[in-house]
């Protein structure tokens, strides 16, 4: 049987239509597509894809079951190692992980592993009878700080082993970056809620509105009887460029812009939480978060949305798929371009003019790529005299974050590095006994799946630590 050299395309909403709504962009495979795509898998001996997965999902096994139409069986294989399959099937950068290692990929396009994972997880969520049984308790209590991808993964793995797990979340809803950061059109919030419900069914307790470092400290968690603590508190403080005009009205961090829209539902009609909509929007940065912010701005009703990035398309750190989606939707990429000042309205005649202090534009310079830097990326250099202005009403700064100081400042003996990231060993253990950490709180801004991998590693280490105690 000849193998189809190409992956089955993912059905998506039409670009023009989806650019103006918040419904999910990718619609998911049908059963026929899933089985047909699964049949592209060679079931090769070496299984290089498994090593490419940060949580080591047994990929060929689940794909084999998909071939046979046993979707629940396939789900069980994935669920052995992944706590959030429906999330990973949507937001993992498979093209640089499992799929990049696929044997079929040497000659053809690799197997669409991510798309199959999504199909299986969605099938389970739609069809499975509820009530996976609660594991027998082993009597050990573990606290998890933060309910993002690392925390939920760590919680899930420990709960499956019988630990009594409590997750503390600062916001009013669980999910961390999966609910405040990644937009509805990429990851519907109902899916995140479902995954959290799944963990609760395993016995995981979720306490919202608790800020560890403020409401309770890490040391108090030990006083309360927890024997180990996992810190997955995420990245934290947004970075700004330090250019004039960043305090003008209409300048947001990507965190704020996305949180207003995603978590606080400012995209809905008559929201309680305001957000600036419409006009022209510039998003500064080139990562996945920048793509999310740009596409959100478009859906909120912007006339024109720019991605402003100081390097070229080749260096753009966002996933290729996200960049393509953004381009299809009409987002304009201003590459090799860097802002130097944000301009605002000022009526000197009337200090009470309501428009005073709002953004009107952005002054940028053109860049060219010079010598490679320490990381091997070519350093962007300003082209002298290349200043130009673009007319914008909103600017979203999406240039990374710095770790949050709340836990570091209130936890004695917790070592952090020069960037404020928590220092851990290869098992996720920090400098403080019984305290483990992972995800962005350790590495700075990274991916959902790498955070999940860290949560998984720490869960195994916590299990080892408490079993030997």
């Amino acid at each position: 049987m000849a193998i189809n050299p190409k992956k089955h395309e993912m059905p998506t909403q039409d670009a023009k239509v989806r650019a103006r709504n918040f419904s999910e962009v990718a619609l998911g495979y049908t059963e026929e597509m899933a089985i047909s795509e699964a049949n592209r898998c060679l079931n090769c001996k070496n299984k290089p894809c498994v090593a490419g997965c940060p949580v080591n999902i047994n990929i060929p096994d689940f794909i084999t079951l998909v071939k046979q139409g046993d979707f629940e069986g396939a789900y069980k294989v994935i669920a052995q190692t992944s706590s959030l399959p429906a999330v990973c099937g949507r937001v993992c950068p498979q093209e640089t992980q499992c799929e990049s290692k696929c044997t079929l990929g040497i000659k053809f396009e690799p197997v669409g592993i991510g798309r199959l994972e999504r199909y299986v997880a969605d099938w389970h969520n739609a069809n499975a009878k509820e009530g996976g049984e609660k594991p027998q308790s082993n009597g050990h209590k573990v606290a998890i700080v933060g309910s993002g991808p690392s925390g939920l993964t760590c919680a899930g793995d420990l709960a499956k082993k019988g630990y009594d797990v409590t997750v503390y979340e600062a916001f009013h809803v669980a999910g961390g970056v999966l609910v405040y950061g990644i937009p509805e059109f990429r990851l519907p919030k109902s899916i995140v809620a479902k995954e959290v419900e799944g963990l609760k069914a395993l016995g995981v307790k979720v306490e919202t509105n608790v800020v560890i470092g403020k409401t309770l400290t890490v040391d108090e968690l030990f006083d309360m009887g927890f024997e180990a603590v996992f810190i997955g508190s995420g990245a934290g403080l947004p970075n700004f460029m330090g250019i004039p005009g960043e305090s003008l009205k209409g300048v947001y961090s990507a965190n704020e812009f996305l949180t207003r829209s995603n978590l606080m539902k400012a995209y809905r009609e008559n929201p309680d939480t305001p957000i600036m909509k419409g006009g022209n929007v510039a998003v500064v940065g080139g990562g996945n978060v920048a793509m999310d912010a740009a596409r959100t701005a478009l859906r909120l009703g912007a006339e024109k949305v720019y991605i402003v990035y100081r390097r070229s398309m080749d260096e753009l750190p966002a996933r290729k798929e996200e960049v393509e989606h953004a381009q299809e939707e009409g987002i304009e990429f201003k590459l090799l371009c860097n802002p130097v000042e944000i301009l605002g309205y000022n009526n000197p005649e009337n200090p009470r003019d309501e428009k005073n202090g709002f953004v009107t534009g952005m002054r940028c310079v053109k860049m060219e790529l010079g010598e490679p830097d320490a990381k091997g990326r070519r350093r962007p250099v300003v082209i002298p005299g290349s200043d130009f202005e673009i007319k914008v009403d909103t600017v979203v700064m999406s240039i990374g974050t710095s770790p949050n100081p709340l836990i570091k400042d209130t936890t004695e003996g917790l070592e952090v590095n020069a960037h404020g990231g928590i220092v851990v060993n290869e098992e996720g253990l920090s400098s403080k006994q019984g305290v483990y950490a992972g995800g962005d709180a350790v590495t700075g801004a990274a991916t959902v799946i790498s955070a999940m991998g860290a949560g998984k590693t720490a869960a195994a280490a916590i299990d080892k630590y408490l079993s030997n105690k």
Partner: protein
């Protein structure tokens, strides 16, 4: 869900509630704040803590009904619940080494100034309080201030109560008369705090101001609460939620803070009107 243990109107537009939140009450210190949501669709708003009762596990909040969210909150009755209540956030007011303090509160800001005054009184500092209101009907917490202040001056803008004038008038008189405060702490409208800073600065007295900007998470994540400080000629961006809410008044860029505070002015005015209309309709329907 968090129960409203008590509710009391302090004047026609200022409401006081005690909310059952034992974990917050256990930790709260003067100067810190909480974030609440009234209902499951609600926005997150920061309110500075006006006191707490560790035994009963309650946290006192005092708010002025100025927008849609405070309007909704005010429609909640004693014994009812609010959706979310998280804290204590921000840093507590610095009290160390301050033996003689002047607390300057304006309007509903007095609600936050009061626990600070109480804390200094408890610590044995000499407390002078200056509290100002627009008019007689808006005066709140006078007895509470009296109880914790060695000296209390009440001002009203229109002269309808106590002495007429701004809070800066008695402050300036005291400083001119040679009062030596270790610190002036001011909490109230931005424009008032700006002028308190200017007044105290003339005499070289340090001023702490309590900032209450627009916020979402209150934990340093969104950066919406950022403000600019001028430190040694350099502009420095700080986040009120984790670096504050108290700041050195000499350094704060008040004009920028005032401008940023009006970012959603149009939205809020509209939302408040809508909410009021909804409540009016609902009440009309009951008749």
């Amino acid at each position: 869900m968090y129960k409203i243990a008590t509710k009391k109107m302090l004047n026609s537009t200022v409401c006081q509630m005690e909310i059952e939140a034992p974990l917050v009450a256990n930790k709260a210190k003067p100067g810190q704040f909480i974030i609440l949501r009234v209902d499951s669709e609600g926005e997150r708003i920061p309110l500075t803590i006006a006191g707490c009762d560790k035994v009963r596990g309650t946290v006192k909040i005092i708010f002025q009904i100025v927008g849609a969210t405070t309007e909704k909150l005010n429609h909640k009755k004693q014994g009812e619940f609010i959706q979310d209540f998280v804290g204590p956030l921000g840093k507590a007011t610095e009290t160390e080494g301050i033996k003689k303090v002047c607390i300057v509160g304006g309007g509903v800001g007095c609600a936050i100034a009061m626990p600070v005054a109480e804390e200094f009184h408890r610590l044995g500092a000499e407390v002078t309080s200056i509290i100002g209101f627009r008019n007689k009907d808006l005066v709140i917490l006078e007895d509470e201030f009296k109880a914790c202040s060695d000296k209390l001056v009440v001002m009203s803008d229109d002269g309808s109560y106590a002495r007429q004038g701004n809070v800066t008038v008695p402050l300036k008189e005291m400083l001119e008369a040679g009062e030596k405060f270790d610190m002036v702490i001011t909490i109230g409208p931005l424009i008032m705090m700006k002028f308190v800073v200017l007044t105290a600065k003339e005499f070289g007295v340090p001023v702490t101001v309590s900032m209450n900007p627009i916020m979402i998470d209150g934990t340093g994540m969104c950066g919406g609460c950022r403000l600019t400080l001028n430190q040694d000629g350099k502009k420095v961006t700080k986040f009120a939620c984790v670096d504050g809410p108290d700041f050195n008044g000499y350094e704060v860029d008040f004009d920028e803070a005032m401008s940023r505070g009006r970012m959603y002015f149009g939205f809020e005015r509209h939302a408040h009107e809508e909410t009021c209309n909804l409540f009016k309709k609902a009440e009309g329907g009951n008749n």
